[in-house]
């Protein structure tokens, strides 16, 4: 009897705690959105530093959104902090790759960098692939995968139970088509995830850095990069990092201050 009572009280505490937590989260979200709004008004008054601290307060609470990153990028742009500005625009693009405002302002920020790095021309397959991948964002792709599978299952059940032979045939083929779409969607979602997990993009925050052909100073000096350059980190050896830039050049950089563009969705 006593034990039972104890158990029930524990349960109620747990329940209470859970509701509190959920409430807290919801509350945090709401309050953070008001902080975001405060940041916006600070930005509009040209108090960019204040806006930044408000936005970053939101970030510190673990709350993110493409708009938040975008506004941070704008504020840093106004303060002429190239690297930060580019960094946050890139983060915004990760969450919302097709937003026009983000693309335009990100170009403004890229204009400020010293190096103009010409992108390697993409093969048609790659552009096509990117187009396909970019139709939905990642979470929509995963929802789509599940939805397609449900549609397929429904159609298959109809196929199983229907009596008319001709309808049976049409339902069978429709179900088969949906199954193929499901598989494509599954593979796309999977490959997006793999791609995001296996590429390590970062923004260079150091003012100016030399890139060497080997991870030592005796090697040949290849070129130098300035802050705000987006690099892909390929390898790490002690305090040297092997990087690749958009035009395909690779090299080693020493003691660089790099900030990784880890996708918030995956890590």
């Amino acid at each position: 009897m006593i034990e039972k009572y104890k158990f029930s009280s524990l349960k109620s505490i747990l329940f209470f705690g859970a509701t509190l937590l959920i409430q807290n989260l919801a509350f945090a979200q709401a309050s953070m959105e008001s902080v975001f709004k405060q940041g916006n008004s600070a930005y509009n008054k040209a108090e960019y530093q204040k806006a930044i601290s408000l936005y970053e307060q939101t970030l510190k609470m673990g709350q993110i959104s493409a708009e938040l990153y975008y506004n941070l990028g704008n504020a840093y742009y106004k303060l002429n902090n190239i690297a930060e500005s580019i960094y946050y625009f890139e983060k915004a693009k990760q969450l919302d790759p097709n937003d026009e405002d983000i693309i335009i302002n990100s170009n403004f920020a890229k204009n400020m960098t010293i190096d103009a790095i010409e992108k390697l021309p993409e093969s048609q397959i790659v552009t096509f692939q990117k187009k396909i991948y970019g139709i939905f964002n990642f979470s929509y792709w995963s929802y789509l995968t599940v939805i397609l599978f449900w549609i397929f299952s429904g159609l298959f059940l109809v196929y199983v139970f229907i009596k008319s032979a001709s309808l049976k045939q049409t339902f069978f083929f429709i179900a088969l088509g949906i199954l193929i779409f499901f598989m494509i969607s599954f593979l796309i979602t999977y490959s997006i995830e793999e791609k995001e997990k296996n590429t390590n993009f970062a923004i260079l925050f150091s003012n100016q850095k030399d890139i060497w052909s080997e991870p030592n100073q005796q090697a040949e000096l290849l070129f130098s990069l300035h802050e705000g350059t987006k690099v892909e980190v390929l390898d790490i050896l002690e305090n040297w990092k092997k990087i690749r830039i958009a035009n395909g050049s690779e090299g080693w950089i020493e003691n660089a201050s790099l900030r990784y563009l880890n996708n918030d969705i995956f890590r």
Binding site: G62, Q63, E100, M112, S142, V160
Partner: protein, 590 residues
Amino acid sequence: MLKFLKLYFFSFFVILTFNLQAQVSFDAKVSKKRLGLNERLRIDFEMNENGDNFNPPLFKNFQIISGPQQAVSRSWVNGVQSFSKTYTYFLTPRSKGNFTIGQAEVTINGEIYKTSPIEIEVTNAVKKPNDPNNVEGQIDGNIHLVAEVSNPNPYLNEGITIIYKLYFRNPISVSDVSELETPSYGDFWSHLIKIGRAEINMRGTFKGESYNEVVWRKAVLYPQKSGNLILEPLTLDLTLSLPSNRRDLFGRRILTQSQKTITTGEKVIKVKDLPKKNKPENFSGAVGKFDFDLILNKNTLKASESFQAKIKVRGKGNLNLFNLPSINVPNTLEVYEPEHNEKVKVTLSGIQGTVEDSYTIVPQFQGKYPIPSIEFIYFDPKLEAYKTLFSQELIVDVYDGPTSGLPSVNSGLSKSKNSIVPNDSSFRFIKLDTKLQQKNQKIFWRSYLFWALLFIPIVLIITSILIKKYILNQTEDLTIRKQKRAQQLAKKYLSSAKKVIQDQAKFYEALERALHNYLKAKLKIETTELSKSKIQKLLNDKGIDKQISSEYVEVIENCERARYAPGSSINTKEDLEKSGELISKIDRQI
């Protein structure tokens, strides 16, 4: 005899003079054949016909102090022309010993003449070279040519000044000076500072004694090489006047003119290399003391207008001997080759002034362009340290024009005032609304929920297939059973008729009853009265084929006919089978 002798003498002289007239002579004469190490040797090469291609011997073991000095004299005495041309060298021996001065060559009238070699003996230095009463001696103590170097041990590229001063004192006075040898400053960047007129400073001092001082030349030098650099000597040929012992009518001493060659001698400047320690990588090579600045002529402009960025170095040092750092701007700016300007003055204290590179820059797109700070490193020889100067970071704001990365909106000529350009070419404002999400929330992809949602339909499909199979089996059983039951029913009802198949009347009575009973049981009719039309109607209502129902009624009619009018044409067996068939058919259809 005497007469003969006279004749002889006369003829001898005639021949001699003739010989003198005709014979070419080319001789070397030395002032002395034996001299001390610190004494000088004068050597004259004299010829009595004008010759070309004079080729002096190699004065091995001797150093040429001055020369060659060329002197030509031509005279007519009693109608006889005499000519002499002399090349004179002043030498000092380099070491002790017996030396031979080699042959000099000259081409006279197409023939090569040579002097005979001369043996010279060089002994230990004599205490007082030459006679102090001699004019030379008087000169030597009282006239000096000095090269004053401001810093004999400078750094590479550190400016030094060199001042050549001539000191002389009583009783000498200088009446004419000519430069015999001018240093060329091979390993230096040099600049001579002009001196309008040589002025005599009566109050100069040299080695603590008072002298008259003349600044002959000033030069600013920047060594371009490290190591021991040799400054070539400056040699002056002076015409001096100095009093002799003789006096004129009024008791004044008579001045005698004397030639004197005077040299500074070689000077060695030890040039230090710039310290390797802490030497910055992109050291410009500038040595001195400088200010550095980067100046823009405007900060805000329209795209496709131009602005100027000036990199300016001001100060003292080797200003025109190093390259200015180059500007580093975002690549979307079009930068033209810089225009180099030097406003430099060379004074005794070195090069002073301003050097600047002026870049013309044209932005192509709108936006903000940072111009990062440029570093300029120079070496300060006074502090013996490298100094780094940074220009301030500047921002150029380009406010009108196409945006990079987007197709340029070029309205061309028809650009009216206040035309509203499509908005996609300007910097966008922040976004005002957002929907925040938790940063590290679990993603749906490959979550348990995701897999569950994929498995549920699979389970559903499998179970439904199983269920379907089961239900279908059941329904099949039902029909078979129904059929069987119908057959059984038919058998049961018809069994009584079958028993009496031999007796026609009884058989048909039993068959009719059986058929009626079946219908009653099947259609749940209580009344005993069943007309044939009613039966047909009831059967039709139950959804039984008209043919079957009419056949059923026909069989009943047959039974009645056979009961009341027993005929020959009656097949009892056939009727039994037919009624059995009909019953099972009806049963199946209901």
